[in-house]
């Protein structure tokens, strides 16, 4: 029997190499079809009217003029008169028309009146906290503060941001003879149908789901949501296919956001820079829902600590998981407070982290130590580091900032079929999705590696709920799930084939292996038959085997728990307050890497997303009306190509890391850039800019309170 375990490093032909993504040619030539690109015969275009008020009640609604407009084929009222409204943009009415232009015009003809209540929008004032206050004390924080040589206090925070997926939320919905087919933009192909049964009044088994490509999710596309459900309703009413995806303003206003988080921190250390006590009072808002505030501190669990946290309700749309939920905010607050303390104690930041690693999780201490050393070398830390506040003359101040992070990344539950056909062709069928991370490519690599075949020989089929169910892609769980289930399926299918060949050769199957497009004897590699000839022995019957991965922290193929370190190098113009990225270095562990090229892309992408939320991104709400003031891409700013500076990525490889098995990578590297960049700015200008994004006005305001200006 073939071993389930990953092949050793010297035997790997595909795993861990730099391999082009298999769907790259379709994407770069415009041939890849996304939900927004699906056009069907007789298809209608849907639009939604969102509430202009953030809090109150729907007082009256008149859709008659919209209904009367030629070309409007279906209207679905989503809020009844008298229903409460809790955030601006909340869906009131949806309609479908023969053209997008008519649908847009029809929305304007709907007359809705509202009773408005002043919304609560302020999430920066801890006095507004409500609901359960989580409090905890470990060790003796009071004594720790008494024994300390240095104490630092500060307020830190991260404003609310949105996902800003380039492909908006929504789907195309169409009735078929047997039920319904939907093309959703989703992170959960296998989970969509069950969430559309209420709207369609169909059994989940009658709903066919197809998502071959999706234009970004980042945690916000686990379910079809109200927009998907109302698309189904409209399609049902009109008996025609309906394309309904949100327009950009609604995408930014209601399709999900990342909670804000703020904290007052008091932290102390002894003369050498070893932390003796931590105290934090944190708050933040996840919109109208109240999820509390993320726990502190992050990574470092100091022996003496007291923490309390409480949520604030504000009238903005519901939060959705945002790539590494809670972690970027916790990381920013913790690492900012720690580097402020290090600066006060006169201890170099790198030294400070190394000194306090005993408070980090035990299994990651040596990883962090190695990564800190590599990152410091890559950015030439020793030559560039200086004490807080760049004392050189001129308005441009330069600084370095460090941060570190952790994430779980265990594989989700997954089932996968591998079929070997008598003609030698191989197919992988799995109800997963590729969010752009390289899932298709990694499936091909795992199965190709297992069967000793090149990547091109493997047909990878994903994106349909008719394939074996795979979990939702969130929390960096996909690669663990799919690499394990596909490896198991491929091994089981291969063993069936080896049995056939062994019978033919009158030897036992354990004497055979698949390699280099052949089935050969392990002891006598020159004794072999080609893959095609081996498959001919199957006669008329294909082999299909299913592999299953059960969710959990550790299997023989997968693991969880990674560490990463980043160091940022910035320049700040103290006259304009503008922060410029010079460089950011990421050193990342993720266990065994399947495709080095797409893995590195994940880290590069995370760094860029991190620069974006550190410097530019903020969902700004009008305190009076509760409307988002920047629901467009001109003022909801994403970093452009020239804003990100030099990026360097170093992946931790070698047996120490790879022997742990496969671990997810999507979330970890996006956690740290905010903290590293904020620390770098503080190092440059000599004063902390308390909240991100580090916009020019915030930098100038901080400089007014001190620093090098």
């Amino acid at each position: 029997m073939t071993s389930i375990n990953w092949p050793p490093a010297d035997k790997r032909k595909l795993i861990g190499k730099r391999i082009d993504r298999v769907d790259g040619p379709k994407k770069s030539s415009g041939a890849a079809k996304y939900s927004l690109d699906i056009n069907r015969p007789e298809m209608l275009y849907g639009k939604i009217l969102g509430s202009p008020i953030a809090r109150g009640m729907l007082k009256s609604l008149d859709t008659s003029k919209a209904e009367a407009l030629a070309g409007v084929e279906a209207i679905h009222v989503m809020k009844k008169v008298g229903d409460p409204i809790n955030w601006a943009g909340e869906e009131i009415v949806a309609l479908a028309a023969t053209t997008e232009e008519i649908a847009t015009e029809a929305i304007k003809l709907i007359k809705a009146e509202y009773d408005r209540t002043p919304p609560q929008m302020d999430d920066t004032d801890p006095a507004k906290g409500e609901g359960q206050k989580r409090e905890r004390t470990d060790g003796m924080p009071d004594q720790g503060f008494k024994d300390a040589a240095f104490t630092s206090e500060g307020r830190y925070g991260a404003a609310c941001i949105t996902h800003c997926c380039l492909e908006p939320h929504g789907q195309v919905s169409a009735w078929t003879e047997s039920g319904m087919k939907v093309w959703p933009s989703t992170q959960s192909v296998s989970g969509v149908a069950a969430q559309l049964t209420a709207a369609s009044k169909l059994d989940a088994s009658k709903i066919e789901v197809d998502c071959q490509n999706m234009g970004g999710g980042f945690g916000s596309k686990f379910g079809p949501g109200a927009v998907g459900a109302v698309g189904v309703e409209l399609s049902k009413k009109a008996k025609r296919p309906v394309k309904l995806l949100l327009e950009r303003d609604m995408e930014l206003e209601i399709a999900g956001n990342r909670p804000s988080a703020y904290a007052d921190i008091k932290v102390a250390c002894d003369k050498e820079g070893k932390v003796t006590a931590w105290d934090s009072k944190s708050w933040g808002s996840s919109g109208v829902g109240n999820w509390g505030a993320p726990p502190l501190p992050y990574v470092f669990q100091f022996a003496n600590r007291s923490t309390s946290s409480q949520g604030i309700k504000v009238n903005r749309g519901p939060v959705q998981a945002w790539r590494a939920p809670g972690h970027p905010q916790r990381c920013l607050i913790t690492m900012s407070a720690l580097e402020d303390l290090a600066a006060k104690a006169g201890v170099d930041a790198l030294e400070f982290y190394l000194k306090n690693l005993d408070a980090a999780p035990e299994n990651l201490r040596s990883t962090y130590a190695e990564e800190l050393e590599i990152a410091a070398k890559l950015i030439d830390y020793k030559a560039k580091a200086h004490k807080r506040g760049d004392t050189t003359t001129g308005p441009i101040k330069r600084g370095l900032g460090i941060s570190l992070h952790t994430w779980g990344g265990a594989g989700h539950a997954s089932a996968c079929n591998v079929t070997i056909n008598p003609d030698g062709s191989v197919a992988v069928n799995i109800g997963t999705q590729d969010l752009g991370v390289g899932t298709r490519t990694c499936l091909g690599i795992v199965v190709g590696e297992t069967l000793g075949l090149p990547l091109e020989a493997i047909e990878v089929n994903i994106g349909r709920n008719s394939y074996p169910a795979d979990g939702a892609s969130g929390g960096s769980t996909t690669i663990g799930g799919i690499s394990s289930s596909s490896r198991r399926a491929a091994v089981a299918a291969l063993d069936q084939l080896l049995k056939k060949v062994a019978d033919e050769l009158k030897i036992t199957p354990d004497k055979l292996e698949a390699a280099d497009g052949k089935i050969r004897e392990v002891e006598h590699p020159d004794k072999s038959i080609s893959w095609k000839d081996a498959c001919k022995l199957l006669g008329q019957n294909s082999i299909t085997e299913q592999g299953k991965h059960t969710a959990g922290p550790r299997t023989e193929l997968t693991n969880s728990g990674v560490g990463g370190v980043q160091i940022a190098d910035v320049s700040v113009d103290i006259e304009t307050g503008i922060v410029k990225m010079n460089e950011i270095v990421a050193v990342q562990d993720c266990g065994l890497i399947i495709d080095l090229k797409t893995a590195e892309s994940q880290v590069y992408g995370a760094l860029i997303m991190g620069v974006t939320y550190a410097l530019f991104e903020e969902a700004i709400y009008d305190p009076q009306t509760g409307r988002m003031l920047n629901p467009d891409m001109e003022f909801y700013r994403l970093a452009g190509l020239s804003d990100v500076g030099k990026l360097r990525v170093h992946m931790m490889t070698g047996d120490k890391y790879e022997s742990r098995g496969v671990i997810g990578l999507g979330e970890p590297p996006v956690i740290t850039p905010g903290a590293a960049i904020s620390n770098a700015v503080a190092n440059a200008i000599g004063v902390r800019v308390p909240t991100i994004p580090l916009t020019a006005d915030r930098v100038l305001k901080a400089l007014h309170s001190g620093g090098v200006a």
Binding site: S28, A31, T99, L166, R248, G436, V437, K597, Y604, D632
Partner: protein, 209 residues
């Protein structure tokens, strides 16, 4: 008549882009090309067109295509909704992100902010006109090779903008890259790969010319 976009000093900056869009937007009432029987207004340049649909002819990727549009239909909606040419994407829908970039007479424009009727008489090139999965253009191949794409939704816009830039400057300076690709945005964060792809494709294209 065709309004020309003002020349940018090098490549096409977004600001130049926006000026171009504004200038072409006023040309609506002056159309004289198209189908005389459909466009009775053609005899009187001041008479309004529409508000209903009219048939126009667009030259797309070297092919003449007839399409029925309203005067307010954007070039992007005409391509995507009426001709099923969906490579150019609708993202910001207001000339910020560049996902809808196509070439009009060799120059990159935001198709979300150009009217379809204004594009008559011009040669439109979309991402599909540059290559296909079996026969990639040098820029498309370089995007694959350098993994300059993740979810891929911004990719067609970047590939078109990049192609237009490299046709002008095969070995662009960082400033030319900033201007030439500064009007495109990516959310997944593929800029590192795009920068590499620019160098690789530029080298290939420079060697050919």
């Amino acid at each position: 008549m065709q309004q020309k976009t003002p020349e940018a000093p090098s490549g096409v900056s977004r600001r130049a882009f926006l000026r171009g869009v504004g200038a072409s937007g006023v040309a609506t009432g002056l159309l004289t090309v198209g189908f005389p029987d459909e466009l009775q207004a053609a005899t009187d340049p001041n008479a309004p067109i529409g508000p209903g649909e009219i048939k126009i002819k667009l030259s797309i990727n070297g092919e003449d295509r007839e399409v029925s549009v309203e005067p307010r239909t954007t070039l992007l909606d005409a391509l995507r909704n009426r001709l099923d040419i969906t490579g150019a994407k609708k993202v910001c829908d207001r000339a910020t992100c560049g996902a809808c970039t196509v070439m009009r007479d060799g120059r990159p424009i935001y198709a979300c902010t150009a009217l379809a009727i204004d594009s008559q008489g011009s040669k439109i090139t979309t991402i599909e006109g540059l290559g296909n999965p079996e026969k990639l253009s040098p820029v498309q191949a370089a995007f694959v090779h350098n993994d300059a794409q993740q979810c891929g939704f911004c990719t067609p816009g970047f590939v078109v903008a990049c192609t237009a830039m490299l046709q002008k400057h095969s070995s662009p300076t960082p400033e030319q890259v900033r201007l030439g690709l500064g009007g495109n945005l990516c959310r997944c964060g593929t800029y590192a790969g795009i920068k590499e792809a620019v160098i690789e494709a530029g080298t290939k294209m420079g060697a050919k010319s």
